[in-house]
Amino acid sequence: MEEYSLTLGAHLLLWFFPLALVVLVIVENLLDKHTREPER
């Protein structure tokens, strides 16, 4: 029986892009918290 698999482009579209985006959002938020001046 033939084995099928996702192409490289499909992997990038289906997994890599959303995961990279989520990581970026989290890192940006952490950096933002780190650099933000404490509120008075």
Binding site: S5, G9, A10, L13, P18, V25, N29
Partner: protein, 545 residues
């Protein structure tokens, strides 16, 4: 769709009634906290991160995310998922570029609507910008509201077991009546809170159902094997497209995101956010919601293709999977999520259309400034009247109105997104350039869209150039009769007409009709704003910053 048993239908109907009850309860709670005009139109600028974040995203997606997006991957496999990066890039621009700048600008200006942002940013002594922006918003929004009410009516009638024409009418009336009541009583706050409730419901449905469906298939590996056995092209990022058709498709799908900064019902959520801290929290919430919902919808379509390969309409995959795989109570909740996606958009668009009439036309353009209490009453009655017109259009199915819907997303996006971005980046644009951008965005959208459909409507497409000239002449005459136009405005109108005709020629000459109309319309509108501003005299009266 798979035939549904009577007992399942009854359970689903009970869940739907409970869902409508929750919406009414939220509307009642919001109404108790709504005391004046700014409360009604902008929730007194008091939204927290969750309601602003999820409301901004849920209101932008409509039934498209639970129906159209699912249908894309059902039909085209993984290559149907290109809408997801397109939309998420639009979210990124909105929450990281627009929201943090728009909230303080709007608060400083005292702006209540998108039209307010534009007119106060560049000055509008003769109401040229306000009338133009309000007209574009009203035409697009009324079409949208009626189309969404039609979709809600169909979804309600099928989930509540109503049949035939009378069932459709009943479905439209029930869905619309609840939304009109909730929106007119609680205004912006009710819309944002119901959006939060509905947005969470949509996210849960689109996360849980595909995970369950894929596990039933035997895991992700089994899903891939199932898709490959149907058609190996379903497993590639390009599908069966090659060359220019593939690149045109990808650029067009990524181009969907260009429209987000121009959606009045989306960016008013940022204007209503309480403070900068809430905007920062909103960014994370909105992005996570977007990733979950877009990729969840994509996985539903993929799982649906393998689980229900005989399903004729891929857009029904979410509902069909729910009715086949899960308990009727959960199926009812998932159907409620489908309707939620529609109703959260209807209520937001209804409020924008009503604000355009009651605030932009009556209070600002006609100068019937009233006290806060009268503004609230006026807003409530306008929602009721605009909503009733929406019901009538949905029931009579006036074809002209639905024709406008085809242009609504691109039209609003191209007319306003470049302007909002330029307004926030403080580039050299004046009010004549702003007028040219709105008209160019709208004109190019219509011309390009007609070009894309030229195969089915060749006669209409061939008439675009002289229809554009007539429209431009009519605008110029009206502007002169109303003594509203300055020389710069006339240059703006002529420039917009010229760019529209040029875009029509480009489509005809170079066959660029495969490109999604929002992409050229957006960039030509931005060009029009900058070029017209550069060649027109500096406006008298300094714009507010």
């Amino acid at each position: 769709m798979t035939p549904v048993e009577g007992s399942t239908l009854t359970t689903v109907a009970v869940v739907m009634v409970a869902y409508l009850g929750v919406l009414l309860f939220i509307g009642w709670r919001a109404a108790r906290r709504t005391h004046g005009g700014e409360d009604f139109h902008l929730a007194g600028r008091s939204l927290g991160a969750w309601s602003a974040g999820i409301s901004s995203t849920a209101s932008s997606e409509s039934g498209w995310v639970t129906l159209g997006a699912v249908g894309m991957t059902f039909t085209y496999g993984v290559s149907g998922l290109w809408y997801a990066p397109g939309c998420l890039l639009g979210y990124l621009v909105n929450v990281y570029l627009v929201a943090p700048r728009l909230r303080p600008l709007s608060a400083n200006q005292g702006s209540v609507t998108l039209t307010d942002i534009i007119t106060r940013r560049w000055g509008d002594p003769r109401n040229v910008l306000r009338v133009t922006a309000t007209t574009i918003i009203l035409i697009c929004m009324m079409g949208y509201v009626a189309a969404q009410m039609t979709a809600a009516g169909k979804a309600f009638s099928s989930s509540l077991g109503f049949e035939g024409r009378s069932g459709y009418v009943l479905g439209v009336v029930i869905g619309a009546a609840v939304i009109i009541l909730v929106t007119s009583l609680g205004g912006f706050r009710a819309v944002a809170w119901t959006d939060l409730f509905q947005g969470v419901l949509v996210a849960i449905a689109l996360i849980a159902l595909p995970l369950y469906a894929i596990s039933r298939l035997g895991g992700f590996g089994a899903l891939v094997q199932g898709l490959g056995a149907i058609d190996p092209n379903l497993l590639s990022a390009g599908g069966d497209r090659i060359g220019p058709a593939l690149w045109g498709f990808i650029i067009g799908q990524l181009g969907i995101g260009l429209g987000y900064p121009g959606m009045p019902h989306v960016i008013t959520r940022y204007m209503a956010t309480r403070n900068d801290r809430e905007v920062q929290r909103l960014q994370v919430i909105a992005m996570f919601w977007g990733v979950a919902v877009f990729y969840g919808a994509g996985l539903v379509g993929l799982a649906g293709r393998v689980t229900l390969p005989e399903l004729a309409d891929g857009e029904q995959a979410l509902m069909a999977l729910a009715l086949q795989l899960v308990h009727p109570v959960l199926a009812g909740l998932i159907l409620a999520a489908v309707i939620s996606a529609i109703l959260s958009t209807v209520s937001s668009q209804l409020l924008v259309a009503a604000s355009a009439v009651s605030y932009d036309v009556v209070e600002e353009t006609l100068g019937r400034a009233s006290d806060d209490r009268r503004s609230l009453v006026l807003g409530r009655w306008t929602v009721a009247v605009v909503g009733l017109i929406g019901i009538l259009v949905a029931l009579t199915e006036v074809r002209l109105v639905f024709w406008f819907v085809l242009f609504a997303w691109s039209g609003l996006g191209a007319a306003f997104a470049p302007l909002i971005l330029l307004a926030l980046m403080q580039r050299g644009v004046n009010r004549h350039g702003a007028l040219a951008a709105m008209l160019t965005g709208t004109g190019v959208t219509v011309a390009w869209k007609l070009g894309r459909d030229a195969a089915t409507n060749p006669e209409i497409f061939a008439r675009v150039w002289w229809m554009t000239l007539i429209a431009a002449a009519a605008i110029l005459v009206l502007g002169q009769l109303a003594r509203a136009f300055e020389r710069g405005d006339q240059i703006g109108v002529v420039s917009a007409a010229s760019l529209t005709v040029v875009s029509w020629w480009l489509v005809q000459r170079w066959g660029l009709h495969n490109l999604y109309e929002l992409v050229p319309a957006f960039f030509l509108a931005a060009f029009a704003a900058l070029a017209v501003s550069a060649i027109t005299p500096t406006s008298e009266g300094s714009p507010s910053q």
